[in-house]
């Protein structure tokens, strides 16, 4: 019989700009914080899964161990677009489910420059053949929602107002400043309808989690701080008609979410809070429907009615989300689990979702001409 898997330690550094630090050093800081949270040291860890994109071929996991304890444990370096951190976590989870280990560390880390991601190796088609930038891609996705349901620029902008307000209550967030609606709508337009304040921030950051089998967690007396991993699911981009021209993050998300709810024996009504992938304000709107938080076509009403802000029916991104907390690509997938775990432990202070018992994390990443990776986790209060 396969074990239940628990998070027994989890933490993240405050996201920000740390140009004088190294990637392994940022990872090491989060790893030590998570180990301290579990009351364990690195010698207790049997395997490491390290998620990072910028130095994907640079053995970040091994370099991190060189800083905190070269125990010779198996290291897997993980790269999977914006789902990198969650993939590292899922691989750790899977290794415990498989019975290979009982105590595993998952780390996600990224150090980023400012500005647009990407660029071309060959002749750049940018501008000549549309745009390969992330904002343009997610603006198309927003425009598809506008085409289908009449969603407005103002409704998309309300997502940023909400998430920036949420982040004022989160000490780990890069930005902690409210942004009224007119300020969001009046900011520099990047790609219609996403203004600068509707784009997630490229920051440096790291997050880590110690995962443990139920048997071991009970043996060590760690169940008082344990958070149960109720389900872990992933998907890549299933074929949809336009997805080679216009990457389809919705199809991958719906596929992973359907599998997650089914395996967990749960529905959206059972979820008390969600940390979803608001890489752009337009993305958050479509994901409300993708995650089943409302029926198709209702996402505009959900944001306008305040259903997804703290105190609403289904709080979304009370951490401030990628828009305000920040989006260090490799770290995000574990950082949003830290947020959910904190609420399940009743430790979220001013932004605590009262009575939180079940939380969902969602990350989805990819790019034009590449593909998509989506990861869904549901965490449960023990």
């Amino acid at each position: 019989m396969t074990e239940d898997v628990y998070i027994v330690g989890i933490d993240m550094i405050r996201f920000g700009r740390y140009p004088d630090r190294t990637v392994p050093d940022l990872a090491a800081e989060a790893a030590l914080m998570a180990l301290d949270d579990a009351g364990l040291d690195i010698k207790a860890i049997q395997a490491l899964f390290s998620g990072n994109l910028g130095q994907a071929s640079g053995m970040v996991g091994q370099r991190m161990l060189a800083e905190i304890g070269q125990t010779g444990i198996p290291v897997t370096n993980v790269a999977n677009a914006c789902a990198t951190g969650a993939t590292a976590f899922r691989d750790a989870w899977m290794s415990i489910k498989a019975g290979a280990y009982d105590t595993v560390l998952a780390v996600g880390v990224e150090q980023m420059g400012k500005g647009l991601l990407g660029g071309s190796l060959g002749a750049s088609p940018e501008g000549l053949v549309g745009s390969g930038t992330m904002p343009a891609m997610f603006s198309h996705i927003g425009m598809e929602h506008a085409r289908r349901y009449g969603t407005t620029f103002e409704q998309f902008a309300q997502v940023s107002v909400k998430n920036h307000w949420h982040s004022t209550m989160n000490a780990k967030s890069m930005y902690r400043k409210e942004t009224p609606l007119q300020e969001v709508m009046g900011a520099e337009m990047i790609a219609w309808p996403n203004t600068k304040l509707m784009c997630s921030v490229n920051v440096d950051g790291s997050a880590a989690a110690v995962l443990m089998s139920g048997t071991k967690a009970r043996q060590l007396g760690l169940m008082d701080r344990a958070v149960k991993v109720r389900v872990s699911e992933m998907s890549s981009n299933p074929f949809t008609d336009r997805q080679m021209a216009m990457p389809d993050f919705s199809a991958a998300t719906r596929l992973a979410v359907a599998n997650a709810y089914e395996k967990a024996g749960l529905g959206p009504q059972d979820i008390n809070l969600v940390e979803l992938h608001d890489c752009f304000a337009t993305a958050e709107i479509v994901h409300y429907e993708n995650l089943g938080l409302c029926a198709d076509g209702e996402a505009g009403r959900l944001i306008s009615d305040g259903d997804t802000q703290l105190g609403g029916r289904i709080p979304v991104n009370v951490s401030g989300g990628l828009l305000s907390k920040g989006h260090p690509l490799g770290a995000t997938g574990i950082a949003n689990m830290y947020e959910i775990a904190t609420h399940l432990r009743g430790a979220a202070g001013d932004r605590q979702v009262q009575g939180a018992r079940m939380g969902m994390t969602h990350v989805v990443g990819g790019g034009p001409g590449m593909g998509t990776a989506c990861a869904i986790h549901i965490l449960e209060k023990v």
């Binding site: 071309s120 002749a123 745009s131 080679m244 021209a245 216009m246």
Partner: protein
């Protein structure tokens, strides 16, 4: 000065020439009828193997969605209109929309468009024109 009939390089591998006439190359699956942009031997939709026919893609279609890009990589002239077009043969393709004012609220969904070909230098190859494609209103 010697004259050489040097062909300009194409911006994408699926932009080909029939003699000196440019066209967009596609592949149509005999098993499921999906039309892809570009060459392929296996169908990504139904996984059928050895069922692909090379086709010339349709040169007309409709705008499915658009965005107006105001900020791009350094050196790229903005604003420009980035569209996803549903071609009349069922293929779907991304491109730049020309001949339309870049006012995002004034570009209708399903605007009928045609494919046009032009020479343009990529931002990272200044002074080196490439054969490119774009869209214009029909």
């Amino acid at each position: 000065m010697t004259e050489q009939a040097t062909e300009l390089p194409a911006i994408a591998p699926f932009l080909k020439r029939d003699g000196d006439k440019p066209y967009l190359a596609g592949s149509k699956c005999r098993a499921c009828a999906h039309v892809f942009v570009g060459d392929r031997t296996v169908c990504a939709k139904c996984a059928a193997r050895g069922q692909m026919d090379a086709v010339h893609l349709a040169e007309t279609g409709k705008v499915y969605v658009h965005t107006v890009v105001y900020r791009s990589f350094p050196g790229v002239e903005t604003p420009f209109i980035d569209v996803i077009v549903d071609l009349d043969d069922g293929a779907h393709i991304k491109g730049t929309l020309l001949g339309v004012e870049p006012v995002p609220t004034a570009i209708p969904f399903d605007l009928p468009v045609k494919v046009v070909y032009r020479e343009a230098a990529p931002v990272n190859k200044p002074g080196q024109p490439y054969l490119t494609y774009a869209f214009e209103p029909l």
